[in-house]
């Protein structure tokens, strides 16, 4: 394994700590012991590789991928797009990006969601795509609605889309959530507040991108994702015993 295949150490300050009492479910699911820090091995710098032929033609179009013949989901159509970059600002091509969300009424198509809001018969709420050669991803969906959840008695989630991202190595694996510029629930959200650094929270908010919208048809939001960068080692200690 080449030293330059290793990833730079994760900056814990960029992330929520495991134990965040404001988000109560974390209290009994957070490890109490410190994570054991490991230098990368082959197990960490490698990761699954996906091909375009594994995806369906409508996988990145949530407006159509669960719609009945002639039907369409209710809600404000939007395009969400951006790039997947590494910490060195290099685009990461060919990586799998997956996304899931509630419908326009704030209801998930999930057997455990019993929020009193309608299921949309034309909306599944999930999709996926691969980044292109410049690291770009894009999909079409409808604006997800806010919904209440059990944390404090009157906690509401701002509209958000969940993202799952693979990098080139399994150590880059990331799941997160994207919010929408201007949503007044953002400042009340307990789950976003688990991220201690306000500047880091800002990086989870997508911006309205009129230039990427489709005039007379669809608005667009832009959100870039950054995964850990790879080391650029100019000199490496000579290892003993080789």
């Amino acid at each position: 394994m080449q030293a330059d295949a290793e990833f730079v150490a994760r900056d814990p300050a960029a992330h929520p700590p495991a134990l965040t009492p404001i988000y109560k479910t974390s209290v009994f699911r957070a490890p109490h012991r410190p994570l054991l820090s490991l230098q990368n091995s082959l197990s960490d710098v490698t990761g699954p590789v996906f091909g375009q032929d594994e995806l369906g033609p409508l996988d990145a179009d949530l407006v159509l991928n669960y719609a009945r013949d002639g039907g369409a989901p209710i809600g404000e159509r939007i395009i969400v797009h951006g790039r997947v970059l590494d910490g060195g600002a290099r685009p990461i091509p060919g990586v799998l990006v997956e996304f899931w969300q509630a419908n326009a009424a704030g209801r998930y198509r999930h057997r455990n969601d019993n929020f009193d809001a309608p299921i949309d018969p034309n909306f599944g709420g999930c999709g996926r795509c691969l980044t292109d050669a410049e690291g770009r991803y894009a999909f079409r969906t409808v604006m997800p609605g806010p919904y209440p959840y059990r944390n404090r008695v009157n906690d509401w989630r701002p509209g958000h889309i969940h993202f799952s991202v693979f990098g080139s190595g399994f150590a880059q694996r990331l799941i997160t959530q994207m919010y929408f510029e201007g949503d007044p629930l953002i400042r009340h959200d307990s789950i976003l507040q688990t991220v201690p650094d306000p500047a880091a929270r800002e990086r989870l908010v997508a911006l309205l991108d009129l230039n990427a919208s489709v005039p007379l048809h669809t608005l667009a939001y832009r959100w870039d994702i950054v995964l850990r960068g790879q080391r650029s080692t100019l000199f490496e200690n000579r290892l003993q015993g080789n």
Binding site: S26, P31, T46, P48, E98, H110, D224
Partner: protein
């Protein structure tokens, strides 16, 4: 759009919990609907895959001892020869297996809390330069409601005592008792071997999780 630091680096996007409905996006059939023709990660092994068939299974417990029944578990592993299906694996004399990607995912069962993979036993993998080989292992990654940043751990095999004793990662764990949290227990099942691996998120017997 994302401010760079003074050296020009970009900060990593913050993690957020996968939430209670992670199944919709990643294993939609468990959420209760069928949307994709190809459910990625559902099957690891085909009849053409080389290697010894095994089952690995376990449960996940929270700090009160209750089952975590809404978690997602991913596995990343080498093939039977100990090679990863990835261009960064340059190990000599280890054949690729075109019928094995080595990645899968599943959910803990909403009722029983059990997760399981039907896979093959991986071979040993070269360690870091200057270190001994790593014993056969599965890399596991766990996300769920209440987990703010995915938890990485490793499953080692209880019937690989000699290889485990020499493993450079297990040996980084200072307390011998904590090493045991990464060893799966073999059990005979209908002519196959099942390895049982329970994960404890917090408290007594807490599983060793890695910052990689």
């Amino acid at each position: 759009m994302i401010p760079r630091d003074p050296l020009g680096y970009l900060p990593e996007t913050p993690s957020q919990t996968a939430g209670p409905y992670v199944h919709i996006g990643l294993i939609p059939r468990q959420a209760g609907f069928d949307i994709f023709d190809n459910n990625l990660g559902e099957t690891l092994v085909t009849p053409a895959t080389q290697g010894t068939r095994i089952r690995v299974e376990g449960r996940i417990f929270d700090g009160t001892g209750a089952l975590v029944r809404d978690a997602l578990v991913e596995v990343w592993q080498a093939n039977a020869a100990g090679r990863y299906a990835h261009p960064a694996d340059h190990q000599a004399r280890k054949a690729e297996d075109p019928s094995f990607r080595g990645w899968g995912r599943t959910g803990t069962d909403f009722a029983t809390g059990i997760w399981a993979f039907e896979t093959i036993k991986p071979g040993p993998v070269a360690g870091r330069a200057g270190h001994r080989a790593m014993a056969p292992h599965l890399n596991l990654w766990i996300v769920a409601r209440g987990i703010n940043l995915g938890l990485a751990t490793r499953l080692y095999f209880g019937d690989e005592e000699a290889a485990n004793a020499a493993d450079p990662v297990l040996n980084v764990i200072e307390q011998p008792d904590r090493r045991k949290t990464l060893i799966a227990r073999p059990e005979a099942r209908d002519g196959h071997i099942a390895y049982v691996f329970d994960i404890r998120l917090q408290g007594d017997g807490e599983t060793v999780f890695f910052d990689i």
